[in-house]
């Protein structure tokens, strides 16, 4: 069931009367704000994870929450990924609304059995007896010299799991609104941040702010080519779009935001307009979620296309340590510009 079409700005969601105050926040701060507000609103919301208490989380997303909510609700765990996620699954099944943090998505393999076999399949397998209001927050991506075991982009794994939702916000406002929505959602949600986004800034509504799952967002309008992307690559694509504008190419940037459910309609309608589609993501190309989107576009908008749908993605390699190599294996702004130009020319 495709989501109902509703405009995606917060004001529009809340209705014109509720236009909200905003404040410049870092992405990490916006996430923190969402956690705080949801924890204030609902005592069943708890956070579990490693290093989330005094230290405030590896990326400071839980900073200050221990002081406000105490150690019972900010539950620091031993280094036991499957234990902590499985504990969160059990808690979700029995009345809490846990947010479990996996410090790096690279460690998610240690916990994936509980995410997939237990959380995601629970509703189906048991005939709908229970709900699993669980959020697994994690972060991925390269760019900090953390090398092959701390830099992967693994969203594709989770999109390929029936019963999971997968969300990847690109801006502070979306981060806040989507996290709040994920926490209120009754299904298990993989909420994937990007380590290079935490220190990016943007205007964020200060009060309650919800961005419904399942809605893409056109972050820039254009007519010549559609760039479909998510997470940090939205920022790079917007930079690329600005450069492309100088070259006379009007790129439309569609921020998928929620990979599952996917807002297919918004992607397809943009592609039908521009007649060209470039999918950009940081994860390695082979088996990446870009393939899913390119395949959908090819399948459903074939006759509307003036050029083959094209993917620009990470090189099929583990992430290297040395900075020049690291930068070389994932798409950069110049690569996006080049790919879009070729697509428009081709």
């Amino acid at each position: 069931m495709p989501p109902t079409r509703v405009p995606s700005s917060p004001a529009a969601v809340l209705g014109p009367a509720a236009v909200q105050e905003t404040r410049e926040m870092f992405y990490a701060e916006a996430l923190n704000d969402a956690l705080r507000l949801e924890m204030q609103r609902d005592p069943r919301v708890i956070v579990l994870g490693e290093d989330i208490a005094e230290h405030g989380g590896a990326f400071q997303v839980t900073a200050g929450l221990l002081a406000e909510f105490g150690p019972d609700r900010i539950r620091q765990t031993p280094i036991s990924e499957i234990g902590l996620v499985g504990t969160a699954v059990g808690a979700a099944l029995t009345g809490l609304r846990p947010v479990a943090e996996l410090m790096y998505i690279d460690f998610s393999g240690l916990a994936i059995d509980q995410i997939v076999n237990q959380a995601a399949q629970n509703r189906f397998m048991f005939g709908g007896q229970a709900r699993v209001p669980l959020v697994v927050r994690t972060q991925g991506g390269s760019g900090r010299g953390n090398a092959a075991q701390h830099s992967k982009s693994l969203e594709a794994w989770f999109t390929h799991v029936a019963g999971l939702k997968v969300v990847m916000p690109s801006t502070p406002a979306d981060a806040k609104g989507l996290l709040a929505a994920a926490i209120r959602d009754d299904d298990p949600v993989m909420f994937i941040e990007h380590k290079l986004l935490y220190r990016t800034k943007g205007a964020v509504p200060t009060g309650e702010h919800l961005v419904p799952l399942g809605r893409a967002d056109v972050k820039r309008e254009g007519t010549d080519v559609t760039i479909v992307t998510w997470s940090r690559d939205v920022l790079l694509s917007l930079e690329a779009a600005a450069k492309l504008a100088d070259l006379g190419i009007a790129a439309e940037v569609v921020d998928v935001r929620s990979l599952v459910p996917l807002d297919k309609e918004k992607i397809l309608s943009s592609v039908r307009k521009t007649r060209r589609c470039l999918v950009v993501h940081e994860a390695i190309k082979r088996g990446g979620y870009g393939a899913e989107i390119a395949a959908i576009v090819a399948e459903e908008a074939f006759d509307d296309l003036d050029a083959p749908p094209r993917r620009l993605a990470g090189v099929d390699t583990p992430i290297p340590y040395a900075q020049p190599l690291e930068l070389g294996v994932v798409p950069q702004v110049a690569d996006i510009v080049k790919a879009a130009r070729e697509l428009v020319a081709g």
Partner: protein, 320 residues
Amino acid sequence: MDKQTALHLYRVMRTIRRFEQRSTTLFGENKIWGTIHSYAGEEAIAAGVCEHLRDDDWITSTHRGHGHCIAKRAELGKMFAELLGRETGYCRGRGGSMHIADTSKGNLGANGIVGGGIPIATGAALTAKQLGTDQVAVSFFGDGAANQGTFHESLNIAAIWKLPVIYVCENNQYAESFPAKKAFAIEDISVRAAGYGMPGVRVDGRDVAAVYAAASEAIARARKGGGPTLLVCESYRHEGHYYGDPRKYQTKEEIEGWKTAFDPLLDARGWIVRDGLGTEAELDAIDRAVDDEMERAVAWAEAGPPASPLKFPEDIYASY
């Protein structure tokens, strides 16, 4: 133990045994799809533990889950209906034998992943602690599961948080074809409890009274905030690992020897009569009542409609 409890424990065990026999027949008649794992021989564990549990206490179960389900007071008809793939089954035919849950009675579900239920019970216990109730959670799992990482991580978490959870390890001497003698370099699995800082108790899993007593203590401690316990019940499964298991890893002598020496039902009949808690006639009457109940349950299940077609997204997502 009072008479009522003794007879009730016997009845639960007899129900489990009969359920396994009946589902084995149905399987032989090609009415059941997939696999079933018989709990025959291990009845005393589920019965003795669950006797102390309220409907709002939680359990997590295993692939060998019928016994836990019955002891936690599931409806037999809905269980059979699930095995038969009916809409009237616990999971509307979506789950089958390895995935029966009954959340209305606190049964969070059987599990096809060995060790998969252990952290889930831990999480249920966290809910109880967090909400300040006196509910407890029990995780049933096998000797095989005690060598899974989930066992280790969960027991440690429960110990440091003093969660109200009882880890019931059913050592039936085998994990599929692998004998516990080879899978462990220790003889007594309950010694592992010391490595987490929780009490470890080992009991004869044939003796429902012993299980009942040990569980009583562990559950009472958990309810009062005293934290988790590892309770290891020594047992034996009468049947193969699954229906049709050629059991190449066992000798006929071993099987027959154990089956006679190790039968919780015979054992219970013995002490119930000996201690004057019931007569042979009373026990026979229970047997007949159970058999009747079972036939009614099978008939009800067989009369149920087939599983309805899948609906996307409702079957899979609460919202989409």
